[in-house]
Protein backbone atom coordinates (compact mmCIF):
# COMPACT_ATOMS: atom_id res chain seq x y z
CA UNK A 1 0.00 0.00 0.00
CA UNK A 2 1.40 3.38 -0.89
CA UNK A 3 0.43 6.54 0.86
CA UNK A 4 0.64 9.93 -0.76
CA UNK A 5 2.21 12.18 1.83
CA UNK A 6 0.64 15.57 2.40
CA UNK A 7 3.07 18.51 2.62
CA UNK A 8 2.46 18.74 6.40
CA UNK A 9 3.42 15.09 6.84
CA UNK A 10 6.55 15.43 4.71
CA UNK A 11 7.61 18.56 6.55
CA UNK A 12 7.12 16.87 9.91
CA UNK A 13 9.19 13.86 8.86
CA UNK A 14 11.89 16.24 7.60
CA UNK A 15 11.88 18.18 10.86
CA UNK A 16 12.21 15.02 12.98
CA UNK A 17 14.92 13.67 10.71
CA UNK A 18 16.95 16.87 10.61
CA UNK A 19 16.63 17.52 14.38
CA UNK A 20 18.06 14.12 15.25
CA UNK A 21 20.39 13.79 12.26
CA UNK A 22 22.11 17.05 13.16
CA UNK A 23 22.85 15.73 16.66
CA UNK A 24 23.96 12.37 15.26
CA UNK A 25 26.10 14.29 12.74
CA UNK A 26 27.79 16.12 15.61
CA UNK A 27 28.26 12.83 17.46
CA UNK A 28 29.86 11.37 14.36
CA UNK A 29 32.37 14.23 14.22
CA UNK A 30 33.29 13.55 17.86
CA UNK A 31 33.52 9.84 17.09
CA UNK A 32 35.96 10.57 14.25
CA UNK A 33 38.15 12.78 16.43
CA UNK A 34 38.39 10.18 19.18
CA UNK A 35 39.20 7.52 16.62
CA UNK A 36 41.94 9.74 15.16
CA UNK A 37 43.41 10.33 18.60
CA UNK A 38 43.48 6.57 19.21
CA UNK A 39 45.24 6.21 15.85
CA UNK A 40 47.88 8.80 16.62
CA UNK A 41 48.56 7.20 20.02
CA UNK A 42 48.83 3.70 18.52
CA UNK A 43 45.62 2.62 20.14
CA UNK A 44 46.70 3.30 23.72
CA UNK A 45 44.91 6.21 25.39
CA UNK A 46 45.14 7.77 28.83
CA UNK A 47 42.34 9.36 30.86
CA UNK A 48 43.97 12.79 30.54
CA UNK A 49 44.33 12.59 26.76
CA UNK A 50 40.69 11.53 26.38
CA UNK A 51 39.39 14.17 28.80
CA UNK A 52 41.30 16.96 27.13
CA UNK A 53 40.04 16.04 23.67
CA UNK A 54 36.43 15.39 24.68
CA UNK A 55 36.15 18.61 26.68
CA UNK A 56 37.46 20.53 23.69
CA UNK A 57 35.00 18.74 21.36
CA UNK A 58 31.79 19.11 23.33
CA UNK A 59 32.32 22.51 24.94
CA UNK A 60 31.20 24.56 21.94
CA UNK A 61 27.93 22.67 21.55
CA UNK A 62 27.16 22.78 25.27
CA UNK A 63 27.76 26.53 25.45
CA UNK A 64 25.53 27.43 22.52
CA UNK A 65 22.18 28.74 23.85
CA UNK A 66 20.26 27.38 20.85
CA UNK A 67 21.73 23.88 21.16
CA UNK A 68 19.39 21.07 22.19
CA UNK A 69 22.31 19.15 23.67
CA UNK A 70 22.32 19.32 27.50
CA UNK A 71 25.05 16.77 28.09
CA UNK A 72 27.66 15.09 25.92
CA UNK A 73 30.84 13.07 26.01
CA UNK A 74 32.63 9.78 25.65
CA UNK A 75 32.32 6.66 27.80
CA UNK A 76 35.21 4.21 27.56
CA UNK A 77 35.00 0.45 27.11
CA UNK A 78 36.04 -1.03 30.49
CA UNK A 79 39.76 -1.83 30.39
CA UNK A 80 40.50 0.17 27.27
CA UNK A 81 42.14 3.23 28.84
CA UNK A 82 45.55 2.48 30.27
CA UNK A 83 45.08 4.24 33.61
CA UNK A 84 41.43 3.67 34.55
CA UNK A 85 39.30 0.58 34.09
CA UNK A 86 36.04 2.56 33.99
CA UNK A 87 35.78 6.08 32.67
CA UNK A 88 33.16 8.64 31.75
CA UNK A 89 34.33 11.82 30.06
CA UNK A 90 30.96 13.54 30.19
CA UNK A 91 30.09 17.24 30.36
CA UNK A 92 26.80 18.91 31.31
CA UNK A 93 25.54 21.96 29.44
CA UNK A 94 24.42 25.39 30.55
CA UNK A 95 20.77 24.40 30.19
CA UNK A 96 21.31 21.38 32.44
CA UNK A 97 19.96 22.13 35.91
CA UNK A 98 21.13 18.87 37.51
CA UNK A 99 22.61 19.32 40.97
CA UNK A 100 23.03 23.07 40.97
CA UNK A 101 20.17 23.98 43.31
CA UNK A 102 19.14 27.58 42.79
CA UNK A 103 22.36 28.55 41.01
CA UNK A 104 22.57 29.36 37.33
CA UNK A 105 24.17 26.30 35.79
CA UNK A 106 27.40 26.56 33.82
CA UNK A 107 29.14 24.02 31.63
CA UNK A 108 30.68 21.46 33.98
CA UNK A 109 32.05 17.99 34.28
CA UNK A 110 29.79 15.12 35.40
CA UNK A 111 31.29 13.59 38.54
CA UNK A 112 30.71 9.87 38.14
CA UNK A 113 31.59 6.94 40.38
CA UNK A 114 34.39 5.12 38.54
CA UNK A 115 35.61 2.96 41.37
CA UNK A 116 34.44 -0.52 40.40
CA UNK A 117 35.02 -1.69 43.99
CA UNK A 118 32.66 0.88 45.45
CA UNK A 119 29.70 -1.19 46.55
CA UNK A 120 27.09 0.62 44.55
CA UNK A 121 29.16 1.47 41.56
CA UNK A 122 26.99 1.26 38.48
CA UNK A 123 28.19 -0.92 35.60
CA UNK A 124 27.25 1.28 32.67
CA UNK A 125 27.72 -1.51 30.14
CA UNK A 126 24.35 -2.87 31.34
CA UNK A 127 22.51 0.31 30.42
CA UNK A 128 20.57 0.65 27.19
CA UNK A 129 22.59 3.60 25.83
CA UNK A 130 25.68 1.40 26.03
CA UNK A 131 24.28 -2.07 25.46
CA UNK A 132 22.32 -1.48 22.27
CA UNK A 133 24.96 0.30 20.14
CA UNK A 134 27.59 -2.14 21.49
CA UNK A 135 25.60 -5.07 20.10
CA UNK A 136 24.26 -3.47 16.92
CA UNK A 137 27.35 -1.43 16.02
CA UNK A 138 25.13 1.46 14.90
CA UNK A 139 23.87 4.68 16.53
CA UNK A 140 20.92 4.36 18.92
CA UNK A 141 18.32 6.56 20.61
CA UNK A 142 17.59 5.61 24.24
CA UNK A 143 14.40 6.98 25.74
CA UNK A 144 12.39 8.98 26.51
CA UNK A 145 13.46 7.75 29.96
CA UNK A 146 13.99 9.23 33.41
CA UNK A 147 17.75 9.45 33.72
CA UNK A 148 18.01 9.10 37.50
CA UNK A 149 21.74 8.36 37.32
CA UNK A 150 22.72 11.57 35.68
CA UNK A 151 20.25 14.37 35.01
CA UNK A 152 17.19 13.35 37.10
CA UNK A 153 15.23 14.52 34.11
CA UNK A 154 13.15 13.12 31.32
CA UNK A 155 15.79 12.52 28.71
CA UNK A 156 16.71 11.14 25.30
CA UNK A 157 20.25 9.81 24.99
CA UNK A 158 21.79 9.44 21.55
CA UNK A 159 24.84 7.18 21.42
CA UNK A 160 27.13 5.73 18.77
CA UNK A 161 29.94 3.18 19.11
CA UNK A 162 33.55 4.31 18.64
CA UNK A 163 35.67 1.63 17.06
CA UNK A 164 39.39 1.31 16.62
CA UNK A 165 41.26 -1.57 15.02
CA UNK A 166 38.05 -3.55 14.77
CA UNK A 167 37.02 -3.37 18.41
CA UNK A 168 34.77 -0.97 20.29
CA UNK A 169 36.73 1.42 22.50
CA UNK A 170 33.69 3.24 23.86
CA UNK A 171 30.52 5.10 23.01
CA UNK A 172 30.14 8.76 22.22
CA UNK A 173 26.84 10.50 22.78
CA UNK A 174 24.60 13.39 23.73
CA UNK A 175 21.63 13.96 26.06
CA UNK A 176 18.54 15.95 25.06
CA UNK A 177 15.66 17.03 27.26
CA UNK A 178 12.35 15.53 26.10
CA UNK A 179 10.52 18.80 26.75
CA UNK A 180 12.94 20.67 24.44
CA UNK A 181 12.26 18.09 21.73
CA UNK A 182 8.52 18.49 22.30
CA UNK A 183 8.82 22.27 22.00
CA UNK A 184 10.83 21.91 18.80
CA UNK A 185 8.71 19.29 17.06
CA UNK A 186 5.17 19.79 18.33
CA UNK A 187 4.29 22.62 15.91
CA UNK A 188 5.17 20.32 13.00
CA UNK A 189 3.11 17.47 14.38
CA UNK A 190 0.23 19.79 15.11
CA UNK A 191 0.22 20.91 11.48
CA UNK A 192 -0.71 17.33 10.54
CA UNK A 193 -3.51 17.05 13.07
CA UNK A 194 -3.52 13.87 15.13
CA UNK A 195 -0.13 12.21 14.86
CA UNK A 196 2.50 10.60 17.07
CA UNK A 197 6.26 10.23 16.92
CA UNK A 198 7.50 6.92 18.37
CA UNK A 199 10.94 5.51 19.10
CA UNK A 200 12.04 2.07 17.93
CA UNK A 201 10.26 0.43 20.91
CA UNK A 202 7.04 2.26 20.03
CA UNK A 203 7.45 4.57 23.02
CA UNK A 204 5.78 7.95 22.48
CA UNK A 205 8.26 10.83 22.00
CA UNK A 206 5.78 13.52 20.95
CA UNK A 207 2.06 13.23 20.27
CA UNK A 208 -0.82 15.59 19.61
CA UNK A 209 -3.23 12.91 20.80
CA UNK A 210 -4.07 13.61 24.46
CA UNK A 211 -4.66 9.88 24.96
CA UNK A 212 -1.04 9.15 24.11
CA UNK A 213 1.14 10.52 26.91
CA UNK A 214 4.85 10.89 26.25
CA UNK A 215 6.61 7.76 27.44
CA UNK A 216 3.63 5.44 27.04
CA UNK A 217 3.81 2.47 24.69
CA UNK A 218 1.55 2.74 21.67
CA UNK A 219 0.24 -0.70 20.83
CA UNK A 220 -0.10 -1.28 17.10
CA UNK A 221 -3.58 -0.43 15.85
CA UNK A 222 -5.34 -1.54 12.73
CA UNK A 223 -5.24 0.96 9.93
CA UNK A 224 -2.31 2.96 11.33
CA UNK A 225 0.27 4.33 8.91
CA UNK A 226 3.87 4.06 10.08
CA UNK A 227 6.32 6.39 8.35
CA UNK A 228 10.06 6.12 9.10
CA UNK A 229 11.89 9.40 9.78
CA UNK A 230 15.04 8.94 7.74
CA UNK A 231 17.45 6.54 9.40
CA UNK A 232 16.88 7.98 12.89
CA UNK A 233 14.89 4.85 13.94
CA UNK A 234 12.02 7.16 14.90
CA UNK A 235 8.67 6.80 13.15
CA UNK A 236 5.69 9.06 12.57
CA UNK A 237 2.39 7.27 13.13
CA UNK A 238 -0.90 8.45 11.67
CA UNK A 239 -4.02 6.68 12.91
Amino acid sequence: MTTTLTPAVSECIDAVTSTFSSVFGQIDVWRGSIHDLADSEHGILSVDAVDELVEHLVLADLSTPSSLVIGAGFVATPGYLRDSHWHLAWWLGKANTFGVGSDTPSVRRLEAEEDGDSENFRDYTALEWWRVPAVSGVPHITGPYVDYLCTDEYTLTLTAPVEHDGSMIGVVGADLYVDDIERTLLPRVRAIGRATILNASRRVVVSTDPHRPTGSIMRPTEGETVLPCGDTSLVLVLD
Partner: protein, 265 residues
Amino acid sequence: MLRLCHVSLRQDEMPQSIRSTSAARAAVFAPLAGGGRAELVTQRLTDAIELGLLTHGEKLPSEAEMARQFGVATVTAREALEALREKGLVETKRGRDGGSFVLSEGARAAGITRRVTRLSRVELRDMGVYYSAIAAMAAELAADRATPDDVSHLHATIDAVDVSVETSARRGEGTFRLEVAALSQSARLVREELRLQSEFAPMLWLCLREPEQRERSRQAHRDVVSAIEAFDGDLARRLTTAHIASAIEWLLDAKAELENRGDTA
Protein backbone atom coordinates in the same frame (compact mmCIF):
# COMPACT_ATOMS: atom_id res chain seq x y z
CA MET B 1 17.99 25.90 24.40
CA LEU B 2 17.59 28.03 27.51
CA ARG B 3 15.04 26.64 29.92
CA LEU B 4 12.19 28.89 30.88
CA CYS B 5 12.22 30.19 34.39
CA HIS B 6 9.85 27.98 36.39
CA VAL B 7 8.85 30.41 39.10
CA SER B 8 8.36 34.08 38.54
CA LEU B 9 6.47 35.47 41.50
CA ARG B 10 6.02 39.18 41.08
CA GLN B 11 4.46 41.27 43.76
CA ASP B 12 1.67 42.57 41.55
CA GLU B 13 0.78 38.99 40.63
CA MET B 14 0.55 37.75 44.19
CA PRO B 15 -2.92 36.64 45.23
CA GLN B 16 -4.65 39.12 47.53
CA SER B 17 -4.75 36.67 50.42
CA ILE B 18 -0.97 36.39 50.46
CA ARG B 19 -0.30 40.06 49.93
CA SER B 20 -2.36 41.02 52.92
CA THR B 21 -0.68 38.64 55.34
CA SER B 22 2.74 39.96 56.10
CA ALA B 23 3.95 36.77 57.83
CA ALA B 24 3.08 34.58 54.87
CA ARG B 25 4.67 37.13 52.56
CA ALA B 26 7.86 37.10 54.58
CA ALA B 27 7.96 33.30 54.37
CA VAL B 28 7.52 33.36 50.62
CA PHE B 29 10.45 35.71 50.22
CA ALA B 30 12.70 34.14 52.87
CA PRO B 31 16.27 33.94 51.58
CA LEU B 32 17.06 30.70 49.80
CA ALA B 33 20.80 30.81 50.36
CA GLY B 34 22.08 29.14 53.53
CA GLY B 35 19.20 27.00 54.74
CA GLY B 36 17.90 25.92 51.37
CA ARG B 37 21.33 25.12 50.01
CA ALA B 38 22.42 23.21 53.08
CA GLU B 39 19.28 21.09 52.82
CA LEU B 40 20.06 20.29 49.21
CA VAL B 41 23.57 19.18 50.12
CA THR B 42 22.26 17.17 53.10
CA GLN B 43 19.66 15.54 50.89
CA ARG B 44 22.19 14.57 48.25
CA LEU B 45 24.56 13.00 50.78
CA THR B 46 21.73 11.27 52.64
CA ASP B 47 20.55 9.74 49.36
CA ALA B 48 24.06 8.56 48.60
CA ILE B 49 24.49 6.94 52.03
CA GLU B 50 21.04 5.34 52.09
CA LEU B 51 21.50 4.00 48.58
CA GLY B 52 24.95 2.68 49.50
CA LEU B 53 26.86 4.91 47.08
CA LEU B 54 28.90 6.10 50.03
CA THR B 55 29.74 3.13 52.21
CA HIS B 56 30.72 2.36 55.78
CA GLY B 57 33.96 3.98 56.88
CA GLU B 58 34.24 6.11 53.78
CA LYS B 59 35.72 9.52 54.52
CA LEU B 60 33.78 12.46 53.16
CA PRO B 61 35.70 15.36 51.61
CA SER B 62 36.70 18.17 53.98
CA GLU B 63 34.30 21.08 54.50
CA ALA B 64 36.34 23.27 52.16
CA GLU B 65 36.62 20.59 49.48
CA MET B 66 32.91 19.77 49.75
CA ALA B 67 32.04 23.46 49.46
CA ARG B 68 34.12 23.67 46.30
CA GLN B 69 32.59 20.52 44.76
CA PHE B 70 29.00 21.49 45.49
CA GLY B 71 29.65 25.13 44.66
CA VAL B 72 28.38 26.38 48.04
CA ALA B 73 29.86 28.41 50.90
CA THR B 74 31.98 26.58 53.49
CA VAL B 75 29.47 27.48 56.18
CA THR B 76 26.77 25.72 54.12
CA ALA B 77 28.85 22.55 53.84
CA ARG B 78 29.41 22.72 57.63
CA GLU B 79 25.66 23.03 58.19
CA ALA B 80 25.02 20.00 55.98
CA LEU B 81 27.58 17.90 57.87
CA GLU B 82 25.96 18.91 61.13
CA ALA B 83 22.59 17.69 59.82
CA LEU B 84 24.12 14.37 58.73
CA ARG B 85 25.58 13.89 62.23
CA GLU B 86 22.17 14.56 63.73
CA LYS B 87 20.59 12.00 61.44
CA GLY B 88 23.17 9.50 62.71
CA LEU B 89 24.61 8.93 59.24
CA VAL B 90 28.16 10.19 59.81
CA GLU B 91 30.50 10.83 62.72
CA THR B 92 33.21 13.44 62.81
CA LYS B 93 36.58 12.73 64.38
CA ARG B 94 39.10 15.39 65.30
CA GLY B 95 42.85 15.20 64.94
CA ARG B 96 45.41 14.14 62.36
CA ASP B 97 43.39 11.24 60.93
CA GLY B 98 40.20 13.16 61.52
CA GLY B 99 37.32 13.97 59.21
CA SER B 100 33.72 12.90 58.69
CA PHE B 101 33.13 9.21 58.16
CA VAL B 102 30.06 7.29 57.03
CA LEU B 103 28.78 5.20 59.95
CA SER B 104 28.31 1.44 59.69
CA GLU B 105 24.88 0.00 59.11
CA GLY B 106 25.09 -1.38 62.64
CA ALA B 107 25.54 2.05 64.17
CA ARG B 108 22.82 3.41 61.93
CA ALA B 109 20.55 0.48 62.85
CA ALA B 110 20.68 1.52 66.53
CA GLY B 111 19.66 5.00 65.44
CA ILE B 112 16.77 3.59 63.41
CA THR B 113 15.53 1.57 66.38
CA ARG B 114 15.50 4.74 68.47
CA ARG B 115 13.55 6.51 65.75
CA VAL B 116 10.96 3.71 65.57
CA THR B 117 10.33 3.87 69.33
CA ARG B 118 10.04 7.65 69.24
CA LEU B 119 7.54 7.91 66.38
CA SER B 120 3.87 7.29 67.08
CA ARG B 121 1.82 4.55 65.44
CA VAL B 122 -0.13 7.23 63.62
CA GLU B 123 3.06 8.70 62.15
CA LEU B 124 4.39 5.32 61.06
CA ARG B 125 1.13 4.35 59.38
CA ASP B 126 0.98 7.73 57.70
CA MET B 127 4.49 7.22 56.36
CA GLY B 128 3.31 3.94 54.80
CA VAL B 129 0.24 5.55 53.28
CA TYR B 130 2.22 8.35 51.70
CA TYR B 131 4.91 6.03 50.39
CA SER B 132 2.22 3.71 48.97
CA ALA B 133 0.64 6.61 47.11
CA ILE B 134 3.92 7.22 45.28
CA ALA B 135 5.20 3.66 44.84
CA ALA B 136 1.87 2.08 43.89
CA MET B 137 1.05 4.75 41.33
CA ALA B 138 4.52 4.26 39.84
CA ALA B 139 3.88 0.51 39.57
CA GLU B 140 0.49 1.10 37.93
CA LEU B 141 2.01 3.42 35.32
CA ALA B 142 4.96 1.09 34.77
CA ALA B 143 2.56 -1.69 33.73
CA ASP B 144 1.28 0.55 30.97
CA ARG B 145 4.68 1.82 29.88
CA ALA B 146 7.24 -0.97 30.19
CA THR B 147 8.65 -2.71 27.13
CA PRO B 148 9.62 -6.42 27.21
CA ASP B 149 13.22 -5.19 27.45
CA ASP B 150 12.34 -3.17 30.56
CA VAL B 151 10.68 -6.24 32.07
CA SER B 152 13.81 -8.37 31.58
CA HIS B 153 15.81 -5.58 33.19
CA LEU B 154 13.50 -5.74 36.23
CA HIS B 155 13.98 -9.52 36.43
CA ALA B 156 17.75 -8.99 36.29
CA THR B 157 17.50 -6.43 39.11
CA ILE B 158 15.70 -8.97 41.31
CA ASP B 159 18.13 -11.77 40.37
CA ALA B 160 21.11 -9.60 41.30
CA VAL B 161 20.00 -9.50 44.94
CA ASP B 162 21.49 -12.00 47.37
CA VAL B 163 18.66 -12.47 49.87
CA SER B 164 20.94 -14.29 52.28
CA VAL B 165 22.67 -10.95 52.91
CA GLU B 166 20.67 -8.20 54.62
CA THR B 167 22.51 -5.25 53.04
CA SER B 168 22.07 -6.75 49.59
CA ALA B 169 18.33 -7.21 50.17
CA ARG B 170 18.03 -3.68 51.55
CA ARG B 171 19.84 -2.16 48.59
CA GLY B 172 17.88 -4.41 46.25
CA GLU B 173 14.61 -3.12 47.69
CA GLY B 174 15.66 0.44 46.89
CA THR B 175 16.98 -0.35 43.44
CA PHE B 176 13.90 -2.33 42.46
CA ARG B 177 11.54 0.47 43.50
CA LEU B 178 13.65 3.07 41.78
CA GLU B 179 13.64 1.04 38.55
CA VAL B 180 9.86 0.66 38.74
CA ALA B 181 9.50 4.39 39.39
CA ALA B 182 11.68 5.14 36.36
CA LEU B 183 9.38 2.97 34.22
CA SER B 184 6.47 5.23 35.17
CA GLN B 185 8.21 7.76 32.86
CA SER B 186 7.55 10.46 35.43
CA ALA B 187 10.59 12.47 36.53
CA ARG B 188 8.63 13.81 39.50
CA LEU B 189 7.67 10.35 40.72
CA VAL B 190 11.30 9.26 40.45
CA ARG B 191 12.53 12.25 42.44
CA GLU B 192 9.84 11.70 45.08
CA GLU B 193 10.68 8.00 45.26
CA LEU B 194 14.34 8.90 45.86
CA ARG B 195 13.42 11.47 48.48
CA LEU B 196 11.09 9.09 50.34
CA GLN B 197 13.66 6.31 50.19
CA SER B 198 16.25 8.49 51.86
CA GLU B 199 13.72 9.62 54.47
CA PHE B 200 11.93 6.35 55.28
CA ALA B 201 13.60 3.31 53.69
CA PRO B 202 15.76 2.15 56.63
CA MET B 203 12.70 2.23 58.91
CA LEU B 204 10.06 1.09 56.47
CA TRP B 205 12.08 -1.98 55.45
CA LEU B 206 13.27 -2.83 58.94
CA CYS B 207 11.59 -6.20 58.35
CA LEU B 208 14.42 -7.13 55.98
CA ARG B 209 16.44 -7.97 59.10
CA GLU B 210 14.65 -11.33 58.97
CA PRO B 211 15.66 -13.85 56.27
CA GLU B 212 12.04 -14.99 55.92
CA GLN B 213 10.93 -11.41 55.20
CA ARG B 214 13.65 -11.03 52.60
CA GLU B 215 12.28 -14.07 50.77
CA ARG B 216 8.77 -12.64 50.97
CA SER B 217 9.96 -9.33 49.63
CA ARG B 218 11.63 -11.00 46.68
CA GLN B 219 8.42 -12.88 45.92
CA ALA B 220 6.45 -9.64 46.15
CA HIS B 221 8.82 -8.05 43.61
CA ARG B 222 8.44 -11.01 41.27
CA ASP B 223 4.65 -10.76 41.51
CA VAL B 224 4.73 -7.04 40.69
CA VAL B 225 6.95 -7.71 37.66
CA SER B 226 4.52 -10.40 36.46
CA ALA B 227 1.69 -7.89 36.72
CA ILE B 228 3.73 -5.29 34.81
CA GLU B 229 4.55 -7.91 32.19
CA ALA B 230 0.84 -8.66 31.81
CA PHE B 231 0.06 -4.92 31.42
CA ASP B 232 -2.07 -5.29 34.55
CA GLY B 233 -1.64 -1.88 36.17
CA ASP B 234 -4.46 -2.45 38.61
CA LEU B 235 -2.82 -5.60 39.97
CA ALA B 236 0.66 -4.00 40.05
CA ARG B 237 -0.76 -1.16 42.15
CA ARG B 238 -2.64 -3.43 44.57
CA LEU B 239 0.36 -5.75 45.04
CA THR B 240 2.63 -2.79 45.78
CA THR B 241 0.19 -1.32 48.28
CA ALA B 242 -0.18 -4.69 50.01
CA HIS B 243 3.59 -5.20 50.19
CA ILE B 244 4.15 -1.79 51.79
CA ALA B 245 1.21 -2.32 54.17
CA SER B 246 2.70 -5.62 55.33
CA ALA B 247 6.05 -3.92 55.96
CA ILE B 248 4.29 -1.32 58.11
CA GLU B 249 2.43 -4.00 60.06
CA TRP B 250 5.69 -5.80 60.74
CA LEU B 251 7.17 -2.50 61.87
CA LEU B 252 4.29 -1.82 64.28
CA ASP B 253 4.70 -5.32 65.76
CA ALA B 254 8.42 -4.69 66.18
CA LYS B 255 7.68 -1.34 67.80
CA ALA B 256 5.29 -2.96 70.29
CA GLU B 257 7.94 -5.50 71.18
CA LEU B 258 10.59 -2.81 71.65
CA GLU B 259 8.22 -0.89 73.90
CA ASN B 260 7.37 -3.97 75.98
CA ARG B 261 11.04 -4.67 76.43
CA GLY B 262 11.57 -1.04 77.38
CA ASP B 263 8.77 -1.25 79.98
CA THR B 264 10.14 -4.37 81.67
CA ALA B 265 13.75 -3.16 81.58
